[in-house]
């Protein structure tokens, strides 16, 4: 227990990220199922109140984006990046532990709002955030949201932002600076490349939402008028700041999944990634363009024809590098010796579903058609095709691919296939009809609808689909737990992968590599035209390897942040100061603690 609390081992931190994020994924999924159950019947549905429904969809969105998808990607960054680049750990192991603890505590803080009502004198148990995951002004102003709900949201997101930023600096330096000899930038595995690009987006996008949240905090706590029209403020400024973060965030969510797919497809086609360099550069171009499209979320706010045209144009441009990647993935499969493992099925599912999500995305890029789609279920369909059909299928591909490396145990392929097909059927049944209910005029985020709208059938299909996804997830959980009860040991390289993580035992020893390998090709474990496969590493380290010990200070420093947030939430200044004192003492002890690497 103590060794887990003080660990600075990137592999253990990766597992902690995985289980924590997976737990939040289940919570977010449960919220979605209650939403879908409520919408199965028109005219009042199951009787979930409008207030509860608002909390459910807000927490579903916030949880999935910040507590499930980003940290599930982070689980793979943590576990795989040092292995893929031939390093013994990340550049700053204690900072890495700090990121994890801040993420965990931030997530718990946000979810504590479900039971914190009595503490704030509310007449109900739950005071969860209820203004939507992008918290539009002026719904979030003190005038229209007087309770602590939005305070939980804005403080929780600020805490989580610190975790993401710290991890961002850490992984940028790790990837640029900790590579094994010979691991040139254009020999990095595509997952590592996409991680690097993602982290650049993280460190540039998160400061913008931090500012937006700080301004919102000043409005709510200190009575300023940044977003309040009565004082001359402009609610649209919130939308600009939020989406200037929010659109890069979309790529923060999808690029890691693209990286995973770019690892899985070559391995199971026994072919190098088609157009590796172009895939890498397309990722870079997507990230650059991702900064220039934010206002396409705001066409309905009346920006004027010139702004609308420019943002429509840049948005359509993004389809080009994305399309390039899709053709490269298909090109990788083309003519390969394909093995239909569960991991490959999910990767191919990713391509197919992401194309559908991409196409509906292009249809929002056109401002006139977007005006018909804004705030309807059509948009809900789009986001779920890209984030479920894209990111989550990609992450599942990664879980089946890397689970043996992470735990040393193989997942069941037959259960995996049940999981895959149930997921595919479920997600299409859940999300495809939303295109129709949306175009027929069903608004998003509404707790019930009239039977006269003619969307009851579509909603029932969506609900059945959502519960199929729930069932599929249970199969997956069973599959994960089964590897504990009926373990099947995995060899070093169960899939015949080409990258360095497959050169070492599953699970890897604490020092990762007995000898730091020297890399001569982009696919070190494969026979290529010019290079023989790398020679196996020695079984035992020829020289003693120093492994850094643990540290309490990352955990202790991290606990100061939610304490500060609790103080701010309850307007008790001494608690804020106590939290700040914990952070300051933690940083000093951390900085002057002997910690040899």
């Amino acid at each position: 227990m103590k060794t887990w609390l003080t660990t600075t081992d990137h592999k253990r931190i990766g597992l902690l990220y995985f289980w924590t994020a997976f737990g939040f994924f289940l919570i977010g999924g449960l919220e979605a199922l209650i939403i879908r159950a409520q919408l199965a019947r028109p005219d009042g549905g199951l009787g979930v109140s409008a207030e509860t429904f608002n909390q459910l969809f807000t927490m579903h969105g916030t949880t999935m984006v910040f507590l499930a998808l980003m940290p599930l990607s982070a689980a793979f960054f943590n576990f795989m990046i040092p292995l893929q680049i031939g390093a013994r750990d990340v550049a700053f192991p204690r900072l890495n532990a700090f990121s994890y603890w801040v993420f965990l505590l931030g997530g718990l803080f946000l979810n504590a709002s479900f039971i914190a009502g009595p503490l704030f004198g509310a007449d109900r148990l739950s005071v969860a955030p209820d203004a939507g995951w992008f918290g539009y002004e002026n719904l979030t102003s003190r005038q229209f949201s007087p309770g602590p709900n939005v305070d939980f949201w804005l403080l929780g997101l600020q805490i989580l932002g610190i975790a993401s930023l710290a991890a961002g600096f850490n992984f940028i330096v790790t990837i640029l600076n900790m590579r094994a000899p010979g691991m040139r930038m254009l020999r990095l595995p595509p997952f590592t490349w996409m991680t690097l690009i993602t982290q650049f987006l993280v460190i540039t996008a998160f400061p913008v939402i931090t500012v937006a949240l700080v301004l919102l905090m000043f409005d709510r706590f200190f009575g300023t008028h940044f977003f309040v029209p009565q004082g001359g403020g402009d609610p649209i400024l919130w939308q600009h700041l939020f989406w200037m973060f929010g659109h890069p965030e979309v790529y923060i969510l999808i690029l890691p999944a693209m990286g995973i797919v770019s690892e899985v497809l070559p391995t199971f086609s026994k072919k190098p990634l088609f157009g590796y360099t172009v895939v890498v550069y397309s990722g870079v171009v997507i990230a650059f363009l991702g900064w220039s499209v934010w206002s396409h979320h705001m066409f309905s706010s009346g920006l004027g024809p010139i702004a609308d045209s420019v943002f429509a144009g840049t948005t359509m441009l993004i389809a080009i590098p994305t399309g390039v990647k899709i053709f490269n993935w298909i090109g990788t499969l083309w003519g390969g010796q394909i093995r239909f493992t569960t991991s490959l099925l999910f990767a191919v599912g990713f391509i197919a579903m992401f194309i559908i999500g991409g196409l509906s995305g292009v249809s929002h890029a056109s401002a006139p058609s977007d005006l018909q789609q804004t705030d309807t279920y059509y948009v809900v369909a789009h986001i779920h095709y890209v984030l479920f059909g894209g990111t989550i299928l990609g992450l599942f591909a990664g879980m089946y691919y890397w689970w043996p490396k992470m735990t040393g145990r193989l997942l069941s392929e037959s259960l995996g296939k049940v999981h895959f097909w149930l997921t595919m059927i479920g997600m299409n049944l859940a999300f495809f009809p939303m295109h129709f209910s949306g175009l027929l005029g069903m608004p998003r985020r509404i707790y019930t609808y009239s039977s006269e709208l003619g969307v009851t059938g579509f909603n029932q299909a969506s609900t059945i689909g959502a519960f199929l996804i729930g069932l599929a997830t249970l199969v997956f959980v069973w599959n994960l737990l089964r590897t504990r009860w009926q373990p099947i040991s995995a060899p070093h390289n169960p899939w015949g992968g080409a990258t360095l993580e497959w050169a070492i035992p599953s699970p890897p020893p604490v020092y990762n590599f007995t000898v730091i390998p020297t890399v001569e090709s982009r696919m070190p474990l494969w026979q290529t035209e010019r290079h023989a496969p790398m020679r196996p590493l020695p079984e035992r380290p020829p020289a003693p390897i120093h492994v850094p010990g643990g540290s309490w200070w990352p955990l202790i420093t991290a606990t100061g942040l939610p304490v500060m947030a609790i103080g701010a939430l309850s307007h008790v200044i001494p608690v804020v100061l106590a939290g700040a004192a914990v952070v300051i003492v933690g940083i000093y002890r951390w900085a002057y603690e002997p910690f040899e690497m």
Binding site: L95, V208, V583, I587, F595, E596, M597
Partner: protein, 202 residues
Amino acid sequence: MTHGSAHAHEAGAGAHRTSMGLDSRKMAFWAFIGSECLLFGSLISTYLVYKGRSLTGPFPHEILNIPFTSFSTFDLLMSSLAMVLALAAVQRGDMKQGKLWLLVTALLGLVFLAGQFWEFSHFVREGLGLTTNLFGSTFYVLTGTHGAHVTVGVIWLLTLWVQALRGKLGPANAMTVEITGLYWHFVDVVWIVIFTVVYLIQ
């Protein structure tokens, strides 16, 4: 901010050979500075968006004192010079000079903060509070965020100075001083932008 100063001290990270030949802590700090540019960029943009949109006074031209703030700006620029001298002294192992210039840098930072404190309290007496108008809100949040950065820098410099007094800072830790300097110069450059945008171009 907290994590920035935290990883800057990560012991030993720079001791190993690195792929880019650049100390890992220094690289992390450059990334951190890049991130901070977006933070200040967003705040400065907010200031510019709301420029001239205050519904009630006091308005900027009625209250901003350019001669006084020019002095503060000069003081902060001189602190950057002192920082350069401190780093040079530590790098050549002249800890007597190193201690002196670290302290001078910190004191010049404190003078700047005292000026900001005086300026803020003067403005409040003149009737410009945080919530008076958009100018007040954007002005205090922008310059206050910068002041918070200066405060962190002063604490950091004084920490190094105390370390030097206890004989625990030498040429071997020159990288720590260099990173502190990066932070300090960055905060200084941000002030020059703020001074230009807020005070000079009204």
